[in-house]
């Protein structure tokens, strides 16, 4: 039985029961509201991906001097220009790169870098200064500032079981959905359904109990909406059978079914390569490259590539010089990748990393990551970046006029 029918029949059966108020705004949505939506997909590489063995400065001898046992051999590198080239495990992305759908921004970081995973990840997710502790994420604050009319948590979806700090604002938060059917199933628990129904028409207080009920009701309406909408579209493109492949396939399903979501968030971990880096990082990069390539080709096929911007970051890069265990230790600046059909300057966006002028053996950042966020906020999400980043960033010129 369809949910709407089910509600109608139970309403009839119990006589006076009304359709809960929280379901109404969704049913009132006009189809035209949900087309022409620009999406941002954030892919987080957790653990500190070694950017120098990802986009390899093979044209610089210092790279080979500092990485005696873990440097990638020249013949194996997929060259992009006479200085930089892909790690061979990113071979699937070469085609994407050649099509002009990828921008590589080098030496991205922030002042006074922190080398702790936790702290540095917080800094990237909250968009804070190194010595500032924020309890809200940059995407969460985007929701706070831009979404007074679109209060639904599914405006930002993390394809995961739990919600990252990046997605939590002061008053609004995104929603974590690993599998739309599973979330829908959980919300079908008859007991929960009953207490949600019983509180659906009550004026909820502003206190913490009211907040819990409000969150529960929103979760219910979101779970219902996401599941119903997502099931109208079947992804036909092939994706690799990996966790990330599955997550991006889910994102494709969401985008193509016309879900009213602006931001998606996924992560891939396993980049903390202190020991035996080549094999470990190689595996992760292959998972990453293959999944992203499949995703982009799929979006191209369905005409969504021009409406989608994909951004990949990691909490820090790694030291220029390798360690004694065929690995690398925590470092600082790193590369950020952007993918999409509307890039202003596809290819290599700025100068390759400077391996000569180091700060205690670490790369010096040339681009503040918040200048990338600023550009995305201003040009893609249509919100003045100072409303999210607490001060105004000039921004990079990464995106074509859209």
């Amino acid at each position: 039985m369809e949910r709407r029918d089910f509600l109608k029949t139970t309403a009839l059966a119990s006589g006076a029961m009304l359709i809960p108020a929280f379901l109404k705004p969704l049913e009132a949505l006009a189809q035209s509201d949900i087309t022409g939506f620009k999406n941002l997909v954030v892919i987080q590489l957790s653990g500190g991906n070694d950017g120098l063995n990802t986009i390899i400065p093979y044209g610089n001898d210092i790279y080979y001097q500092k990485r005696k046992t873990i440097a990638i051999n020249k013949p194996d590198i997929i060259t992009l220009d006479d200085m930089l080239g892909f790690n061979p495990n990113l071979s699937a992305l070469k085609e994407i790169y050649d099509q002009g759908w990828m921008s590589i921004v080098n030496s991205v970081g922030y002042p006074n870098p922190d080398r702790s995973h936790f702290r540095s990840m917080d800094i990237w997710q909250t968009g804070s200064d190194a010595n500032q502790f924020l309890t809200t994420g940059w995407i969460g604050r985007y929701l706070d500032a831009a979404c007074q009319t679109c209060k639904n948590p599914y405006t930002a979806i993390e394809v995961d079981d739990t919600l990252s700090l990046a997605m939590k604002g002061n008053t609004l938060k995104g929603i974590a959905v690993q599998d739309p059917n599973k979330l829908f199933q959980t919300s079908r628990e008859p007991f929960f359904k009953d207490i949600v129904r019983d509180h659906g028409n009550v004026n909820l207080n502003e206190d913490n109990l009211g907040y819990l009920y409000k969150t529960m009701i929103e979760t219910y309406s979101s779970a219902d909406y996401i599941q119903k909408t997502a099931k109208t579209y079947n992804v036909t493109a092939e994706y690799p059978a990996t966790g990330l492949g599955y997550q991006l396939k889910t994102v494709s399903k969401f985008i193509n079914s016309g879900l009213q979501t602006r931001i998606y968030y996924v992560s891939l971990s396993g980049f903390d390569t202190h020991v035996g880096q080549q094999a470990q990082q190689g595996r992760q990069l292959k998972i990453y490259g293959d999944a992203v390539a499949a995703f982009i080709k799929d979006l191209k096929q369905t005409n969504k590539l021009d409406d989608t911007l994909i951004m990949t970051f990691s909490e820090f890069g790694r030291r220029v010089e390798q360690n004694a265990s065929n690995g690398t230790d925590h470092g600082t600046a790193n590369n950020v990748f952007l993918f999409g059909g509307k890039l202003k300057k596809p290819g290599i966006f700025n100068a390759p990393p400077d391996l000569t002028t180091l700060d205690n053996g670490d790369l010096k950042y040339q681009v503040d990551f918040r200048d990338i966020y600023a550009n995305v906020l201003d040009k893609w999400l249509d919100l003045n970046n100072s409303q999210v980043l607490n001060k105004n960033f000039a921004g990079l010129d990464l995106l074509a006029t859209v």
Partner: protein, 462 residues
């Protein structure tokens, strides 16, 4: 009725909830007598003793280890971290020293520390427990000299001519004064005073290293002298703002998310006048009329640990596989000894988002009844199908969770003649509204009602 309500509130805040038998015994006691009993029960200090090896002190230097040996060490570290986590959860779940553990949890978050050495974490935790109800100044000094904090806030690297300001900054921003009550220069100058505060890498014990200490004159809060670290701590605590800062945080932990300036000021006066003794401060809070105002009852969101421990205590749950408790902590966003950063867990509404709330609502029934919440309303065919599917899964859930509540003990403590609605009033701190009361009241057996009660949003509050 009001007295019982107040005693229940006191146990919710000074501990981790009340049991039927406790309320039965103390229902007619005065608040004063109950507070006295809570302190009495917390006189004993039971340190955690889960770990006795400091892995960092193993003879072979880390850099000389083979890859396999490194892997083995990492496994040992993970094992230690798990044992320590289990030991503390078990202790909070079983102890009579409720108030001491509650305050240890407060200091654990206040002096948030996240390092890879569980032995040092245990040591720090035991200092927080020993001083949990003692003197804040003593606690502050001892915490500042633990290897855990020296490592976490990089004071090991703080040396004459190469000062590292991390500790000095967090000391003022997060441990004592709060943002806006010091200058960048105060940080720079005081960092110099802490040079030479370090622990010995061979013994793992604090020892002042005069060789790298900066003996020059420092200007701190307008005073000029050759200050040492202890002087800096003294100057900071002489500032009443430290008492205000701690009391604000404590008010949010024990009373209300939204600090009441007047009440916080009263607390700060008591704390400052008592030379930072913690016990008189807590007595003042628990004996204040405003502590029992309706707006301060049943309105705090339990932290994940408070939620889990509250269940454990209420139902005397034993876990065959304690790993599951750590999994729950991870899912709900609070793993003990792993705060997200030096600012600790932000708490309050930050605990709640769509996914964490659904987990929080589902976890009590998962532990107590293999995820099955019986339903006594009018099940539709859709509901029937859902419940049948859940029933089928129960065995799998039991295998995964391996938790054993002592239902007999729990049910026996419920006075005869208590109906489901009365149990809901007892187990839920917020006032129970009609829809919830009707929902629970329509059940036919007590056990079903109890599973429903712990599965309500109201149960998330204390």
């Amino acid at each position: 009725m009001d007295n019982a309500k107040h005693i229940k509130h006191l146990y919710a805040r000074a501990g981790f909830g009340i049991r039927f038998e406790d309320l039965h015994d103390q229902e007619n006691w005065s608040i004063k007598k109950t507070v006295k009993k809570l302190f009495k029960a917390s006189e004993a200090v039971e340190p955690l003793a889960a770990l006795n090896e400091n892995i960092d002190l193993r003879p072979k230097p880390y850099k000389d280890l083979s890859d396999d040996e490194k892997k083995a060490i990492q496994e040992d570290r993970n094992k230690q971290e798990k044992s320590l986590n289990d030991a503390w959860v078990k202790q909070i779940s079983e102890t009579d020293a409720l108030l001491r553990e509650k305050m240890t949890l407060f200091w654990h978050n206040h002096f948030a520390c996240n390092i890879g050495n569980a032995y040092y974490e245990q040591e720090l935790n035991n200092i927080e427990r020993a001083n949990a109800l003692g003197n804040f100044k003593t606690l502050l000094l001892q915490v500042s000299q633990t290897p855990a904090m020296l490592q976490f806030l990089n004071n090991q690297q703080n040396q004459k001519n190469h000062p590292n300001e991390n500790y000095a900054r967090e000391l003022m921003e997060l441990f004592t004064l709060g943002r806006g009550h010091y200058t960048e220069d105060d940080i720079k100058q005081s960092a110099r005073a802490f040079t030479g505060w370090a622990y010995n890498g061979k013994s793992g014990v604090f020892s002042f290293n005069p060789g790298v200490h900066d003996n020059g004159e420092k200007t701190f809060f307008g005073q000029k002298a050759n200050f040492c670290g202890e002087d800096i701590l003294n100057i900071i605590t002489q500032n009443r703002q430290t008492a205000v800062f701690i009391c604000t945080k404590l008010y949010r932990y024990l009373v209300n998310d939204v600090p009441d300036t007047e009440h916080v000021n009263q607390m700060a006066d008591v704390f400052y006048r008592a030379n930072y003794e913690i016990k008189p401060l807590l007595e003042f809070v628990f004996l204040s009329d405003w502590f029992y105002d309706d707006k301060n009852i049943g309105n705090l969101i339990k932290s994940p640990v408070e939620l889990l421990v509250g269940l454990n205590r209420q139902f005397y749950i034993s876990y065959q596989n304690p790993d599951v408790l750590m999994q729950f902590q991870r899912t709900l966003g609070q793993v003990l000894f792993r705060p997200p950063n030096v600012a600790g867990w932000p708490g309050g509404k930050n605990w709640i988002d769509s996914s964490s709330l659904m987990y929080r609502l589902k976890i009590p029934s998962t532990i107590l009844n293999a995820g099955y919440i019986d339903f006594t309303g009018k099940p539709t065919p859709e509901d029937e199908a859902y419940l049948a599917a859940e029933k089928k899964q129960q065995l799998n859930v039991i295998k995964r969770v391996q938790a054993q509540p002592d239902w007999d003990r729990f049910l026996k403590a419920i006075p005869t003649g208590t109906n489901a609605d009365m149990i809901a009033q007892f187990m839920l701190e917020p006032a129970v509204d009609k829809p919830v009361s009707d929902e629970i009241g329509s059940t036919t057996d007590l056990k079903t009602a109890i599973i429903q009660i712990v599965s309500t949003p109201e149960y998330q509050l204390c």
